[in-house]
């Protein structure tokens, strides 16, 4: 292990999307030498795919908006399972995080009086999303990237080196968080270009790795979304919460097959687009759940009037939270009222002039024209649900983003759990990245600065991490050597085949509508895949070898998928991004329960090789009671739909 390079940093940020870059900026501005490690090139992270906007109650489009209204909408969207403190911090701090971007050069679309324009979105009471057409994520990532360059230019002037205090290690992957005496001591990494291993020695590590969508077949997520941070946290001994809640975005492309799952922004509906079935009916009026009955229009006329006169009309049900719309589309298709390719129609062509569509939804216009030969200014789109976001993630302290149980480990953005409860509202992700990215960077920096002695990376852990990463190159030998133990026998497996089988299993058995028997079957298949994945073998050498990278990522996807399946099997109710066919109702007694996933046996990987055992241990935990002044923001009648009588009487 003497041959593995080591570098010392104060704070290491894993991931270079919105949360990671915002954390890095904060840690560097707090004076810490900060390294960012990312799987792709700098500026390509999944955040670029965010389209609609950043939710922040600046009140530019409607002066009645404020953080309390935003907080209320967020809790309603998450069906009151959100960690109230995260939702509060998020709603309070989002406007400052957006305005700050302008001082770094961001150019949002404007209102007539020159402020930042804000658009309507599902579940938000007022127009609240700061946006740039439908490419807001690109603007966010580019602005943060350029702010990092600006800080590097400062360092170049002061120290003569751009990388003196803030360095981006692009196309590098972390495979293990290292610990000494129970505290974080660094990360074990490989560089894609050379296949070289290296160790970052750092007392504070911020996980900002995004989500898990690549475990599902139909997804809007890019290849990076293999649940790396979720798995790194588990393997380091940190628990995950809320993993049963996976958001299926209602509108993904369904045709042609190669683009199935690619996102169609919610802005289409926010700006006036409507959903219709094969009979031409705006079916969403039939799917307004009881908890939202008073807040949504009862007729098409009222819904249409709302765009011009929101004070005296209620919003159209196309703008219900995403979980509701996704379930409705699924039900329409199942009832035989779908479009030719198994979706429903999303139409903006009869709602707005072509020029307005091209101006407000340029990426959608481009995407459908280039990839599906559909002109959205003249005809409807075909859309259906696509796996989009995981609400579950690392259990964190709301104020500091510190992971539970592992000093020095922090998590922010999609990899952190709690903020969005059982369902995230559109637009609340980009603001989440900025609010909690900043907090994670700040507190990671404070933690690193507060240590008098820094934990040293353990040579044995480095050796073990190296052996684990190299395993796919000797897959067949491993099979022979361990044959006596009766495990890991058989020929080398193709990692691409294993990945496809995993995606199919999760899509079919733990998808948008769930049943007990199917999830039990999923756990069996996952265990089988896990054992086979230990024999995933690769050809060639370590230099930029995608088959090898996928073999390593499979470990993470399988761990995270087991969390999703196990938690989904245990939660016997339907809420947000978790819908049980066999338990279709929301149950108030589950409202304050988090399901916690931990590694069953952190010391030994014997369980991984035994298909009869699971790797994840599940437990129940009560959420902290919502602070009284925050509860008082709601009407008693509304609270009674979510909270138990006992909770209400407190």
């Amino acid at each position: 292990m003497a041959h593995v390079d080591r570098q010392a940093w104060d704070v290491v940020v894993v991931g270079a999307g919105g949360a990671g870059l915002r954390a890095a900026i904060e840690a560097r501005e707090a004076g810490m030498r900060t390294a960012v490690i990312c799987k792709s090139l700098f500026g390509k992270a999944h955040t670029v795919m965010a389209e609609g906007g950043i939710a922040a109650s600046m009140g530019n489009a409607n002066e009645h908006d404020n953080w309390q209204v935003h907080f209320r909408d967020t809790l309603r969207g998450g069906k009151f399972l959100n960690h109230w403190r995260m939702a509060e911090l998020h709603a309070r701090e989002a406007p400052d995080r957006v305005w700050e971007l302008e001082t770094w050069g961001a150019l949002f679309d404007r209102t007539p009086d020159g402020r930042i324009s804000q658009r309507n979105f599902g579940g938000h009471e007022y127009p609240r999303l700061a946006h740039v057409g439908d490419r807001t994520g690109l603007e966010l990532i580019r602005t943060l990237q350029q702010k990092i360059v600006a800080l590097q230019q400062e360092d170049e002037r002061e120290f003569g080196a751009y990388d003196a205090r803030l360095k981006v290690f692009q196309e590098c992957t972390v495979t293990r968080v290292l610990k000494s005496d129970g505290r974080v001591s660094g990360t074990f990494c490989y560089e894609r270009e050379s296949g070289r291993f290296f160790v970052m020695e750092a007392p504070a590590v911020v996980l900002a790795t995004g989500g898990i969508g690549k475990s599902f077949k139909v997804t809007s997520n890019s290849w990076e979304y293999t649940g790396d941070g979720h798995a790194l946290a588990l393997l380091a001994g940190a628990p995950l919460i809320n993993m049963e809640f996976v958001q299926f975005h209602p509108t993904g492309m369904v045709w042609p097959p190669s683009v199935k799952g690619i996102l169609v922004t919610e802005s289409v509906r926010g700006d006036g687009g409507v959903l219709r079935n094969s009979e031409g009916k705006r079916f969403m009026f039939d799917y307004i759940p009881d908890v939202f009955k008073e807040k949504y229009a009862e007729s098409e006329d009222e819904g249409d009037r709302w765009y011009e006169d929101p004070e005296r009309n209620r919003r159209p049900p196309e703008l219900l939270p995403r979980d509701e719309v996704a379930r409705a589309i699924n039900a329409e298709v199942k009832a035989g009222r779908g479009s030719p390719h198994g979706g429903v129609y999303l139409d903006v062509s009869t709602r707005m002039p072509a020029e307005v569509i091209k101006r407000r939804l340029p990426s959608m216009h481009h995407q459908f024209k280039e990839l599906a030969d559909v002109d959205i200014t003249a005809e409807p789109m075909e859309v259906g649900p696509t796996c989009h976001y995981v609400m579950g993630g690392v259990d964190v302290d709301p104020d500091t983003a510190a992971a539970t149980g592992v000093p020095g480990l922090f998590a922010a953005g999609e990899v952190a759990g709690g903020m969005h409860g059982s369902n995230r509202l559109g637009g609340n992700s980009l603001s989440d990245l900025l609010v909690f990215g900043r907090r994670a960077g700040l507190h990671a920096a404070e933690y690193a600065a507060s240590l008098t002695d820094r934990p040293q990376a353990d040579p044995l852990q480095i050796d073990a991490a190296e052996a684990e990463a190299l395993r796919p190159f000797s897959a067949e030998e491993a099979g022979d050597a361990e044959e006596a133990a009766g495990r890991d026998r058989g020929p080398a497996e193709n990692p691409y085949t294993l990945h496809q089988e995993l995606q199919q299993a999760m899509n079919d058995l733990v998808g948008i509508i769930r049943r007990e028997g199917e999830m039990a079957e999923a756990l069996k298949r996952l265990a089988d895949l896990r054992v086979r994945a230990r024999r995933a073998g690769v050809e060639g050498h370590r230099q930029y070898n995608p088959g090898w990278h996928l073999s390593i990522d499979l470990r993470n996807m399988l761990l995270v998928s087991e969390c999703v399946a196990r938690a989904a099997l245990a939660r016997e109710e339907s809420r947000g991004g978790h819908t049980r066919d066999d338990h279709p109702a929301m149950d108030r007694s589950w409202r304050n329960i988090n399901l916690v996933c931990e590694l069953a046996d952190p010391q030994c990987d014997a369980r991984a090789a035994d298909p009869s055992l699971g790797q994840i241990r599940l437990s129940r935990r009560e959420t902290p009671p919502i602070r009284r002044d925050l509860l008082e923001l709601f009407e008693k009648d509304e609270l009674a739909k979510y909270l138990t009588d006992e909770e209400l009487s407190r």
């Binding site: 890019s222 280039e370 230099q543």
Partner: protein, 272 residues
């Protein structure tokens, strides 16, 4: 599973209906050299070139190196040359080719090869660092920025850039002239200067930064002879030459040769 999940199952089978075998030639190798390798590979209806590269990985060449991310034309990772033309693999549909045509995929020519279709694009990141950053106006606090849509629109066009670096790859100033790279930032980063120069609130002039001057003197604007190759390959359809480079050239020229403009620039807070 007990009953089909309608939407997710869709009509997968009909996607296979128009399947055929295509002939692909893909460059394989590394910094020490390489060659085109021939493949027969299945193509299904509606697919793009990146789908075919992925099928090669999954079925024939698991270690074929390719860079990609979003597969939706939003991240600019999967740049390559398809039949010699710089393109995004994820936005190049197979239906634009004749079924009997041989499709040749090679790495971007202007950058050093790392492996197979992956090139070393660090040139671009080095150039990005050399462009002076946005300078916030000292007198405005966060939240106080007021800008008209028509004033931000021009820079917004350039901020649509997904940094695929196809314009950098195709630009004849550097495509076959390695020796020009040191002095020339390339269309992407000259456009970045234009973007900042047209930003309604950029306070560069007050802090002593002359963006137009540095475009000409430090970043090689003069090398550009407006052949519009960059505009032609831009997957975002940004009018790089007409809207960024030519106006920047005009402003740089004004500054250089017209003393009145030069004086005016010094006196007015903002130059546009």
């Amino acid at each position: 599973m007990s009953e089909p999940q309608a939407v997710q199952d869709g009509k997968e089978q009909s996607g296979q209906a128009g399947a055929y075998q295509a002939h692909f030639r893909v460059w394989r190798g590394d910094a020490d050299g390489g060659e085109l390798a021939d493949f027969q590979v299945e193509v299904h209806e509606g697919e793009v070139v990146l789908d075919i590269i992925h099928r090669l990985q999954a079925t024939q060449t698991p270690d074929l190196a390719v860079r990609w991310n979003c597969k939706a034309g939003k991240c600019g990772s999967c740049s390559a040359e398809i039949n010699g033309r710089p393109r995004l693999m994820c936005m190049t549909r197979m239906s634009v080719f004749d079924r009997t045509e041989t499709i040749t995929v090679t790495p971007m020519r202007a950058f050093p090869v790392v492996r197979d279709l992956v090139t070393d694009v660090s040139f671009n990141y080095a150039k990005a660092r050399e462009i002076p950053s946005f300078v916030p106006p000292a007198e405005l606090a966060p939240g106080e920025y007021r800008m008209k849509q028509e004033d931000v629109g021009r820079s917004q066009e350039f901020r649509k850039c997904i940094e695929c670096f196809l314009c950098q790859d195709t630009c004849h100033v550097v495509r076959d002239h390695e020796e020009n790279k040191a002095a020339f930032a390339g269309p992407r980063f000259l456009m970045r200067i234009a973007e900042l120069d047209m930003h309604p609130l950029d306070a560069a002039p007050e802090s002593g930064i002359d963006r137009k001057g540095s475009a000409q003197d430090d970043h090689g604007l003069g090398y550009c002879n407006i052949t519009k190759c960059c505009t032609e390959v831009c997957p975002e359809n940004i009018k790089i030459t007409d809207n960024a480079l030519i106006p920047l050239k005009e402003r740089a020229a004004d500054r250089k040769y017209d003393p009145l403009v030069w004086l005016g620039n010094k006196i007015r807070r903002r130059t546009e």
